[in-house]
């Protein structure tokens, strides 16, 4: 018979749908609600931060891949995703160069220099954020009020301005802004900071009408995105639920308000989007639960007893370091062997 050209490979001879770039794109879609919410709440500041982060992430990726002599991985969408994540961890008043430095560190140091996608130990966006936090703390300690731009216009841009020994908030259109910055919900409940102000209501925190980083505001927008990722099968509820349950338990034991803690700061974005990152979390279901519990515990301890009002990002980074250890000792049961 007329022999056709055929392929020979080992079985299996077909595969399930799905690829890494597809999964990355899905996470980007899932972050669209919170991105739009943050732009609506904080105005042009948020929009510029997101755009600059994405561009800087892409350029950093191209730069380091060229320097290392590897082929470009822009097509896998991971750089864009890291860019969006870094932007979402920044306060809206952060200057543009903070976004550039943060994404550069995230992509070049935390990801590519550690071996590239699949080999990084730490969540790259969080490393970028941690670097910024440690290096430029001052620029990041001013928190804009939600909808501050309505006083002037959407196209108004707020920035930190040095006056004498103080850094205050100013905007392009209004000069120095009075009564615009204040304390985040977490700062308000940190006795050591002695911050003044009224605590937001649960509804305000759920919808996102509070101070905070771009991604720390609307729990609703984040949960919509998380629901999409769960529907697509990219994440499951083990890490988010164990994270939030342990956080709430420790908070309750020390007399705090678990709902307030869950809705404030980076818990929702951290538990659903960052702690669930495939590369830096354990591969077994049991391991994931231990990981989530560790994140919740560390977050609670830092918030309640540590120096910072917010602890999610450090908690996740610390648990990232423990993740390989979890994988080493938490093994699935072998079929046909006795339960040990």
């Amino acid at each position: 018979m007329d022999q056709k050209q055929v392929f020979i490979t080992s079985s299996p001879h077909f595969s399930a749908n799905g690829s890494v770039p597809e999964a990355m794109r899905d996470v980007i879609f899932a972050l669209i609600p919170i991105s739009f919410m943050s732009i609506y709440i904080f105005g042009l500041n948020a929009l510029l931060l997101i755009i600059i982060s994405i561009v800087s992430a892409i350029l950093s990726d191209m730069f380091i891949r060229r320097v290392l002599g590897k082929k470009s991985t822009i097509g896998d969408w991971s750089a864009i995703l890291t860019g969006i994540f870094v932007a979402l961890t920044l306060p809206p008043i952060a200057p543009w160069w903070v976004a550039v430095v943060g994404t550069f560190v995230a992509i070049v140091v935390a990801k590519e220099l550690l071996g590239g996608l699949g080999y990084n130990i730490f969540n790259p966006a969080l490393v970028g954020r941690a670097f910024i936090h440690a290096s430029y703390g001052g620029a990041l300690s001013l928190w804009l009020a939600p909808f501050w731009w309505k006083a002037t216009s959407f196209f108004d841009l707020a920035y930190p301005k040095a006056i004498g020994n103080n850094i205050v908030t100013a905007s392009l259109q209004a000069g120095t802004l009075d009564n615009i910055t204040g304390a985040t919900p977490l700062a308000l409940i940190k006795p050591a900071l002695a911050a003044a102000g009224a605590k937001p209501s649960y509804l305000e925190m759920f919808l996102g009408f509070t101070r905070g980083s771009l991604g720390e505001t609307s729990a609703l927008a984040l949960l919509i995105g998380a629901a999409y990722l769960i529907y697509k099968g990219h994440i499951n509820l083990r890490i988010p639920i164990s994270f939030i349950v342990i956080l709430s338990a420790v908070v309750m034991i020390s007399g705090g308000d678990p709902l307030y803690h869950t809705l404030s700061g980076g818990v929702i974005i951290g538990a659903f989007f960052m702690a669930t990152d495939w590369v830096t979390s354990p591969v077994t279901p049991k391991g994931e639960i231990i990981f989530g519990m560790g994140c919740g515990l560390l977050t609670a301890l830092i918030r309640l007893y540590g120096g910072y009002p917010e602890g999610v990002y450090f908690a996740i980074l610390l648990m990232n370091a423990v993740s390989p250890l979890i994988d080493k000792y938490v093994k699935p049961r072998r079929f046909g062997e006795a339960m040990s």
Partner: protein, 452 residues
């Protein structure tokens, strides 16, 4: 009547069935081929020894090769004709093997029949008939059935499981046999119960074959010791150990056989063949296969004489379409891709799939992103990503510690991997390296013994 839905754990995946093309097609008899090639090894164990010579005339059903060891099986002529060669021929494994080549006569004649009353057969008689008929496991492993029916003296088998799961996509030969040869299946089940002195038999059927479940329920409703067990449609539900776990809740220990937990599993085709051998003296000379896939013109279920070249069957099904990319013998998860279409159908062949580019989804390999899909899918509790990393680095002992040898080669890990990493291929390579290492070690230690 047991109809609670059962399944196995851990692991598993639900691939698309792809059975619509052939699940309603009645089994057709394939055209008798002009030449058959019968490899001497169509079964697990030692190859058979030919007892015919080149030039000899043989009749259909005649014994042409004897078993050469305890774990071996005889081979019978699948057509009447003349032996024109006993020489190495290509097989689906990609290597050549000695086979008996028979040129078929124009006039085929009838297969001789020996009518027996199956109820009067003794256990010893049943085992002898099964061995003499050359019956081996038709689910694919092709293990000599009479050896399975004679476990060691102190092993007690209390349950027989008839495997009607057919969990591989595309394949429908077992499904059709359950529908079209239901009486023979029940007869074979009764013989199995007698042969191993078991108390109960279950016919395990996946829920994507509701018509078969209904029919078997009807056929067994008045038989106390045969029940139908409907199991969840999930791959690899039809794997022996997984099926035993699902139906009986017993786990076969690593390295042990199903008999160690008191059970015997037989494929639907094998069970029917057992009945045909006992009731009519029919040796194993033909089997049912499914020819399917997007790139075959007319998908069919065919009753095929063993030794028929695959190209004959492809032609009978209208030929390959232009967009064919792979031709697979077996199912898509565990089958063998072939390039030489002259190779013959053997006892273990369950299907021929002509797969198009869309079906095999050629993707480039990407880096492992530790997503854990392979860990969640593995039914044996191995962590494929870690075993693969060790094999790629040549750290075979570590790979064995991490479960390399527990791998049952179901293919789920490679199937679910979003980065398209050829995990199963890596494990096969690792197992081969391990076997090499073990042989070297044994050679070294026996050398040492000689020196001392």
């Amino acid at each position: 009547m047991t109809l609670k839905l059962k399944t196995f754990s851990p692991g598993g995946v639900i691939p698309p069935h792809k059975k619509k093309k052939t699940e309603h097609r009645v089994i057709e008899d394939a055209v008798i081929p002009k030449t058959v090639v019968l490899p001497l090894s169509q079964h697990a164990g030692a190859p058979a020894k030919p007892i015919v010579e080149v030039g000899q005339e043989v009749k259909v059903g005649e014994l042409i090769a004897e078993p050469s060891a305890f774990i071996s099986a005889p081979i019978h002529a699948s057509v009447s004709g003349k032996v024109i060669a006993i020489e190495p021929r290509m097989t689906f494994l990609g290597k050549t093997m000695d086979g008996i080549v028979i040129e078929a006569d124009e006039e085929q004649g009838e297969l001789p029949k020996i009518n027996r009353n199956v109820n009067e057969l003794t256990v010893a008689q049943i085992q002898q008939i099964v061995r003499d008929a050359g019956i081996v496991g038709l689910g694919g492993a092709a293990f000599p059935t009479n050896v399975k029916l004679a476990p060691p003296k102190d092993t007690i088998i209390d349950t027989v499981i008839i495997n009607g799961c057919e969990c591989e996509p595309y394949l429908t030969c077992d499904h059709r046999q359950m529908l079209e040869n239901a009486d023979e299946l029940v007869g074979g089940t009764k013989l199995l119960l007698k042969a191993v002195n078991a108390k109960k038999a279950y016919i395990g059927i996946e829920t994507n074959k509701l018509d078969a479940i209904e029919l078997m329920l009807e056929k067994t409703k008045n038989i106390d010791n045969i029940d139908v067990a409907a199991v969840e449609t999930r791959y690899p539900q039809g794997a022996e150990k997984q099926l035993i776990q699902a139906i009986l809740g017993r786990e076969v220990p690593t390295g042990a056989l199903p008999s160690s937990v008191g059970s015997l599993v037989q494929n639907v085709g094998t069970t029917i063949a057992i009945y045909m051998a006992c009731a009519f003296g029919k040796p194993l000379i033909e089997r049912v296969i499914t020819v399917s896939g997007e790139s075959i013109a007319e998908p069919k279920n065919l009753r095929v004489r063993l030794g028929t070249p695959i190209e004959d069957l492809i032609n009978q099904c209208g030929g390959l379409k232009e967009d064919v990319m792979k031709v697979v013998v077996g199912g898509p998860m565990t089958g063998f891709a072939i390039y030489d279409f002259s190779i013959p159908v053997t006892k273990g062949t369950s299907g021929i799939l002509a797969l198009s580019k869309d079906e095999i989804d050629v993707k480039e390999q990407d880096v492992c992103v530790r997503c854990g899909s392979c860990v969640r899918g593995c039914p044996m509790g191995v962590e494929p990503l870690f075993v693969n990393a060790r094999v790629q680095l040549g750290l075979i002992e570590e790979a064995v510690d991490l479960g390399l040898l527990n791998c049952c080669e179901c293919g789920i890990c490679a199937y679910v991997c979003p980065s398209n990493i050829p995990l199963l291929q890596s494990f096969r390579f690792g197992k081969a390296l391990n076997a090499e290492m073990q042989t070297k070690k044994q050679a070294n230690s026996s050398e040492k013994k000689q020196k001392d």
